[in-house]
């Protein structure tokens, strides 16, 4: 079945996706609240998969919740925790339950998370997982065996436009498209001039690109990201802007900055849409969209 997210991508409209993190535990209230708040405002929502290698409720469970609540899920799948049998099996399960959008990721090292002595699997990588999806769609599995009933997916991947050095990253990006990525959600971007340069290159490929917008919540948080998150560069001007906000107003400033960036990306048609990451503050996504003059 063609997913509604796929239809949105093909319609040419400006796409908005956001992120919802499943809980640590089985209290699903907050997740349900976020889904309820956002499901009619965005085109689809990503369910993170043990993000940063921190064990949580699975992305598959979160995606099922979104589906059951009438929203459109994008199932994030990393290659860190499952071998090719488990990944294919979970893809079949997802498709059987109407979850047809998948974001394929390699996954962070387990060493960055909260189970530091676990075995990292990495039987496949992100581009091989994309290729596996296209094979399943043809009615085969990775072992070359026939499937009884084949799935349909809208498959995506990520790119870091500000990676340094950028060339190896772009080679991988091109391989992901070759392997079958239909959409790309980027790592958080803050420098729109550099984003434009990346897009001039990326436009030659048949893939929809959604710019990653990560809500800045304070100047220390911005500095922390610059120091610790690969390929994220918050320019000093933005750090200054947020530190000059009145006391208690940093978040408001962050919303304003995110809204302003989205508005520019939209009106100047820099990308095909945006992917809003509000890490733990998902309830602010509607405010960010309002600040960007986006209506659902």
């Amino acid at each position: 079945m063609i997913s509604s997210f796929k239809k949105s991508l093909d319609s040419g409209k400006f796409i908005v996706t956001c992120e919802v993190a499943p809980p640590k535990g089985i209290n699903l209230e907050k997740t349900a609240h976020h889904i309820d708040l956002l499901k009619d405002k965005v085109d689809a929502m990503n369910l993170t998969d043990h993000q940063s290698s921190v064990m949580r409720y699975p992305s598959l469970g979160g995606a099922l919740m979104v589906k059951e609540m009438g929203g459109e899920p994008i199932l994030q799948m990393t290659c860190r925790d499952r071998n090719r049998l488990a990944l294919q099996g979970d893809l079949l399960f997802a498709a059987s339950r109407g979850i047809n959008n998948v974001l394929c990721l390699t996954g962070d090292s387990v060493m960055l998370g909260d189970h530091k002595t676990a075995k990292g699997v990495f039987d496949l990588d992100s581009s091989q997982l994309l290729a596996a999806i296209r094979i399943l769609e043809k009615g085969k599995d990775l072992g070359g065996n026939d499937l009884d009933g084949s799935p349909v997916f809208c498959a995506g991947a990520i790119v870091t436009p500000e990676a340094n050095p950028i060339e190896p990253q772009l080679i991988k990006f091109e391989k992901k498209i070759e392997a079958g990525a239909e959409f790309i959600q980027t790592q958080a971007v803050y420098d729109l001039v550099r984003l434009k340069t990346f897009m001039e290159y990326a436009r030659q490929f048949p893939v929809k690109i959604l710019a990653g917008i990560l809500l800045l919540t304070s100047a220390p948080m911005a500095r922390f990201m610059n120091k610790n998150i690969a390929g994220v560069n918050v320019p000093q001007t933005l750090i200054d802007e947020i530190s000059q906000a009145p006391k208690g107003g940093a978040i408001v400033k962050g919303i304003e900055i995110a809204g302003r960036m989205i508005r520019t990306i939209h009106t100047e048609k820099i990308c095909d849409g945006v992917h809003i990451m509000a890490i733990g503050k998902e309830e602010l996504v509607p405010d960010i969209m309002a600040a960007a003059d986006l209506t659902s």
Binding site: L105, S109, S126, A131, A163
Partner: protein, 217 residues
Amino acid sequence: MIRSITKPKSKEEIDTLLKGLNRIFIIGCGTCVTLTRTGGAPEVAAMKEALLESGKLVTGHVVVPVACDNLTSEILNEEMEKIEQADVLLIMTCAFGVQTVSSQLKRMVVPALDTLFIGKETAYGQFNEICTQCGTCIIGETGGICPVTNCHKGLVNGPCGGTNQGKCEIDNNKDCAWTLIYNRLTELGRLDSMRKLQGPRNFLGEPTPGKYQISKS
């Protein structure tokens, strides 16, 4: 030359392993663990002191030339009297040596070291893992640099999203294998091989435990 790289187990772990075992014979090795200073003559002597201090009885000690060699049993035979007085052999060699001794003497052994990897000395006092003997060598397409070993995740299609300024996401002191491979292939004018989408790896080139028999033709 390839070497078996080891590090000492913690004192607490050795104490736990030796609990209730009071008469100890210590074995070191003159090869890899002498080079890494984890099981040569000075380390064996220090271990003996530490054991005596904690109230154990050391029946004897020896540093064999190459613990993993099949001749080790002959050298140990000369020490048999002291070995027989011991409850346990505390072995300060890599796990190849520990297993060689254990299979030859069929006595209780306790390893004093953790065997980390098979590596080579790349600078004075520095040892690096460069091949994990995966059984399906792919470095003909990666400029002679092994991503299976040098990339923390063993990725074969290029860098993950965690690569940062040419370093690996798990350690800013570790080079990202895919930056190294990219640079090498660029120098060689062979970047095309990095552009090739590699299929899933064969992880069972030789299923564990590996074995190899020279064909008798």
